[in-house]
Every structure is written in structure tokens, then in C-alpha cells.
Amino acid sequence: MKYAYYPGCSLHSTSREYDMSAKEVSTRLGIELIEAPDWVCCGATPAHVTMHVLSQALPVKSLINAKQTGADTMAVCCAACFSRLKIANYHVLNDPGKKAKINRAVGAEYNGEVAVKHLLEILAKDFGLENLKGKMTAKLDGLKVACYYGCLLVRPRKIMQFDDEENPTIMDAVVETTGAKTVDWPGKVECCGASFSITKTGVVLRLCRDILQLASDAGAECIAVACPLCQSNLDLRQPEVNKKYDKKFDMPVLYFTQILGLAMGIDWKKLGLDKHIVSPLKFLKGKNIIK
């Protein structure tokens, strides 16, 4: 199984552990991820709220570069990049007028020939849940996980074609192959405030407090995420949430790839589990998941 790989800017800096664990897990499963040469930032929210053509042209540039890998599908880990790439492909495939403008801006001919998939879809659908289960050598029985999807993986379904918009279950299914138990909770698709982390930190703290509280009330011991922005807000800002709202959250926020890696017996250092602000190490040792 061979895919072009789009890490995105966060996976090369603030969420390096997502990149590390995604690659470790994929290698173990025989999934080849070939980095798209000279990939470009997707433009994220600042592009789509400022200039429409630019917000489509930047992702298309990376999709064109991905063709050089020889793979017909690009694997993406970041939910925000995933959203921008899927939306660009959608416009190219469904709106000839927009497609012409995008191609003129990029200075190349692109017809939507590179499919975009999130790593969760690749694991659950292409690799298969049963096959995945067979690779779990160090079962995480007894671990209670709240799977947090956030916004951009699932919305809007018309374009993302990912999972149910209100109650997605794909990450729960993937995480449960490890033997862990996922909790039923109402915060799955709530918003963390994402790009307002820097500009409107107060809003982000309020939203993260709610998400942490909902997960905690549902009996979760940790939160699983598939987006670097969700992870940063819930992890990096957790001490501030505690201070502002007089809370004592000590909730590890792990990438689903780190949870899979642990259940495959991959060394925790290779999964970047020492890179979190709310350290999961003591908790994982207490659960006998790591030594």
C-alpha cells in the first residue's frame, strides 16, 4: 500500500509527535508514506477568509506535486489540511468555473486526479479493522478513551464524505482495535476554537474547558484526537484552563496514532509521548501500558 504523504506545517513543528507516531504505525503495517515533494502550506483558515482563489490554489499546488510520488492518493493527518485539500478537490471536480480560475492561479492543469484520504480512513477502510486488530500485540484492555473528532474531519459531509456529522464512529472503531474502550459522550464534534488559540485565547479556554469536562464526566481517562489544532488547544492550554476555571484536569490528550503505536508495542519515545505538556507518562505507567 503506497500513498503520497502530506504532513502539513504543524506536523513539522508543534505536533511533531503526530508525524512520528503516524510514520511508526504506518511502517509497522506496511503502509508506505512518501512525502509529497515541496508540499506547500494549505493556507488554513487565514486563506479561505481572505482570498477564495488563493485558498483553493495552495492545496492544489501540493496535490500537483504529490503526483510525482506515483501514488494516486494522498494521506493526510491534520484535520485542517485534510479539509482544505478535500474542499479544493471538490471544487476542481464539481465547478468548472472555479477549476479554471484555480488552474490559472497555480499555472498548471489539474483535474482532481489525486484523491485525498485521512489516515483514519486508510486504516479503517483500506487496511481494514480486522487486519488492524491482528497487529495489536500489547492490548490496552481497561483504557477508557474519549474520541474527539472536532469540526473539520466531519463537516460538511457533502464534501468530506468522512463519517456521520453528529455522531462519527470511525475513530472509536480504530481505537477499539487496541482493546481500549471508547466512551459515549456529547463532545465528539464540538469546536475547540482552533485558529483562535493565538487571537482569542479566552474563547478557546472556555471551549476547551467544556470539552475536557464532558470527556471527564463520561469517565474517560484520556482523549484521543486526529487533529494537531485540537491537540494543541486541549493539551497546551490545559494548565491555563485549570487556572482560569479553578479546575484540576490532568487529562492526557493523545493522537490516535500514539494509542495504536502503544498497542503495537512500539517504544513510547518513538511515538513522541514525552512531547506533551500534560504528560501521559505517569498515567500510562500506572496502567502498566509502558514501563
Binding site: 477568509v49 481572505t50 477564495h52 495552495l58 476554537g193 482569542k200
Partner: protein
Amino acid sequence: MKYLLNVKNLNSEFVREIQAESKTRILHCYQCGKCSAGCPIANEMEYKPNQIIRMIQLGMEESVLKANTMWLCASCITCTVRCPREIDIAEIMDVLRRYAFKRGIFPAAVADIPVFNRIFLRNIKLFGRLYELGLIGFFNLLTGNPFKDVLLGPKMFFKGKINLIPERIKNASEIKDIFKRSAEIEHSD
């Protein structure tokens, strides 16, 4: 000034322009309020999303553009997916921001958000990828909070999560050209 919903003001140039640009049927809104009920930031907004839609219907251009609503939209798209009338409210918020950007209208109370967006995009134009340290540093300087989040920096650095030097792509000049051509296409529209 009193506003009444009638055929005359439902046909303002403003509503026609926003409707055409967003390719969504603003006049179909029947004010159920689901968009505002699900909006995570409605609490901080001057007008809730459903009120903004009604104001667009009424052609209240100035009030819409002066409000903080569109700038506080987090683009979570909850409103759009829950709208029983299939109105793409999130896209309308994007169109409003782009409309304001073209005209240089930024309400002072939320001016830091477009400033952030501009620094972010300049970053991409220069390097092809986001240079987070530069983004946050510049933003804090320009908005007069040089020490905001300063304690998080060392924590991130020692965990290897901050690049001191920007990552550059090989053909960054191609990206500059994409910016240039995109701007030309936007302006010719």
C-alpha cells in the same frame, strides 16, 4: 430606522451580491435559529448568525460589516450542516470577510484577527510553509502584547516543538507567483 421585510428591501444589491458570491439561498432563511443554537461562539457575538442572515436579507450592509460576528466565526461549519433550509451560513461568513477585506473594513474591536490572517499569509508567501515562531512573535508585537504566551515558548522549545529557523520550500518563488495571480483573478471578478 425601521426595517420591514418586503419585496423591495429583499432585493437589495447587498443581498444579491452576497447570495451570488456564496452560491447559497439567503432568502430561504425562515429564522429557526438552529445556526445560533449550535454556534460555539454565539455568546461573544454582537449579532447571532441567524440575526446576521436576517440583516443581510434586509440589505443592512453597514451594520453587518461593522459587527464582530463574521470575525469571531471559528469556521467550525456546525451552522451549515444543521440548517434545515440548506443555507451555507459558514460560507456566508467567509464571503462577508472577503467582502470586507476587499474594501479594507475592519471593526477596531476585532482588528487583531485580520492582522493575524495577514501575517499568516505573508509567512506562506515568503517560505511556502508556516513559520510559527515568526507568526506569533510578529502578531504579539503588532497587537501590543509582546509577552503574551511567552512562558509557553521555552516549554515548547525544550520538547522540540518549535522551529527557530523557518522551513522553506525549494521553489518559494512559485508560491509568490500563485499569490500574485490569485490576487489578479480576485480583483478582476
